[in-house]
């Protein structure tokens, strides 16, 4: 049995310039450098990326789906944040 297990890392890949990094999956590695190398081999064997970010999973703070109510519902009744809320005559163009 090994003394210590390699920690878990989350992998984010930019598929091409102009696009954001997107979460691709996770992997285990001893350190950041190894996480980058492993991410290249695991997630970009067919040119899926031009840039990789790795972050140790323990540093990610995630919202709890059980609190989705207080978290996201307040936005639901704010229809006035959307352009369709405002009644304008059809003659008004370019708006």
């Amino acid at each position: 049995m090994s003394t210590k297990n390699w920690p878990l890392w989350e992998v984010f890949v930019r598929s091409k310039n102009g696009l954001e990094h997107r979460h691709f999956g996770s992997l285990h590695a001893a350190d950041a450098e190894m996480a980058l190398e492993n991410a290249r081999d695991v997630y970009t064997r067919r040119n899926e990326g031009v840039s990789i970010w790795v972050v140790e999973s323990k540093y990610i703070t995630a919202s709890n789906p059980e609190h989705n109510g207080e978290m996201f519902e307040p936005a639901q009744d704010k229809v006035y944040r959307h352009p369709t809320f405002y009644d304008l005559p059809d003659e008004v163009k370019h708006m």
Binding site: T3, L8, G25, S26, A30, D31, V42, N64
Partner: protein, 318 residues
């Protein structure tokens, strides 16, 4: 939580899946859903990992550089598939170490097909064509399964599988266009891999447990027998193009069904291999566990190095 509340949550949960919503790792889920998914995803991951062994056997003896780079890339993909799936499985709250422990102790199963030996180069052709072919049929419906991380891993896996099958079929094609001995070798491989490939779809519908639950959770969309029939119907014409004979005297086109009728599968053999008495079960586990144990000092050294680097960085920062 009261029983009433749990029942309520379960109903909402099933309704979400019925509406085609995805379940994500931190969402509430019934314990049975979690356990079933851990079992299925880990079995799948183990199959990808153990599946490297029969083909790894031929990498150093591939007949040309072209075949060698292709086989190497295929086996590397299978390692990748195993890793995507292990990490999907870990989101359900089980650690990689526990998963390995289950595989190495024999507690977890992997696909029985990998307990057959690869005795000639033609087996690389037959595996890619038949085994990856059967895997694709099993796996494509999983791209729409209800558990988000599993579905996403499967999308990536399925994209990569079609190269596997094509490279295998091309190996068969070349052998069949070669000398009589080469064609014989291809036929021999088909003879040995045909029936085990049909067994990859699992027991008959009459024998198969928990199909209904799996259908609900979209772990399954078609039954074992339906998938097996689909495989046979699409593979027979491919064998004809190769000029090879499917080793089943009862195989016959059924005009009325629009499908092939086929002979009885040897289910005794299937259960024997599942229970650990296949030709290569012991060998596969020995190779896998051996690799894990021999790699221990490397894993430890990498960790020690990482810690030392970290300490050094912290000291410099002071």
């Amino acid at each position: 939580m009261s029983e009433e509340q749990i029942k309520n949550l379960e109903e909402q949960f099933e309704a979400r899946i019925a509406r085609d919503e995805k379940i994500e790792p931190k969402d509430w889920m019934p314990e049975k859903y979690r356990q079933t998914h851990i079992r299925q995803i880990s079995q799948h991951a183990h199959s990808e990992i153990v599946g490297m062994l029969p083909e790894g056997n031929w990498i150093t003896r591939a007949p040309s550089l072209r075949r060698k780079v292709a086989l190497l890339a295929k086996v590397q993909d299978e390692a990748g598939h195993g890793l995507y799936l292990y990490s999907a499985c870990e989101t359900l709250g089980i650690s990689r170490d526990e998963l390995y422990e289950q595989l190495h102790s024999g507690k977890a199963k992997y696909s029985s097909i990998f307990n057959y030996p690869t005795v000639t180069w033609a087996d690389m052709g037959a595996i890619g064509w038949l085994v990856d072919g059967a895997a694709i049929i099993n796996q494509v419906p999983l791209c729409n399964t209800s558990f988000g991380p599993y579905a996403r891993a499967m999308v990536r896996v399925c994209k990569e599988e079609s190269f596997h099958q094509r490279q295998g079929y091309e190996i068969m094609l070349k052998l069949c266009q070669g000398a009589p001995e080469q064609k014989e070798m291809a036929q021999d491989a088909l003879n040995r891999w045909w029936w085990p490939s049909l067994m990859m779809f699992g027991p008959t519908d009459a024998e198969s447990t928990h199909t209904e639950q799996s259908m609900k959770w979209k772990l399954k969309r078609k039954t074992n027998d339906e998938l097996r029939q689909q495989f046979i119907d699409q593979t027979v014409p491919q064998a004809e193009i190769l000029g090879l004979t499917i080793p089943d005297p009862d195989l016959k086109w059924n005009e009325e069904r629009g499908s092939y009728d086929f002979g009885e599968i040897n289910w005794d053999e299937f259960w024997q291999v599942v229970k650990g008495h296949g030709p290569m079960n012991k060998e596969r586990m020995k190779a896998r566990v051996g690799a894990w144990e021999r790699g221990e000092w490397v894993r430890d050294a990498a960790m020690a190095h990482a810690e030392k680097q970290q300490e050094r960085k912290e000291k410099q920062a002071v």
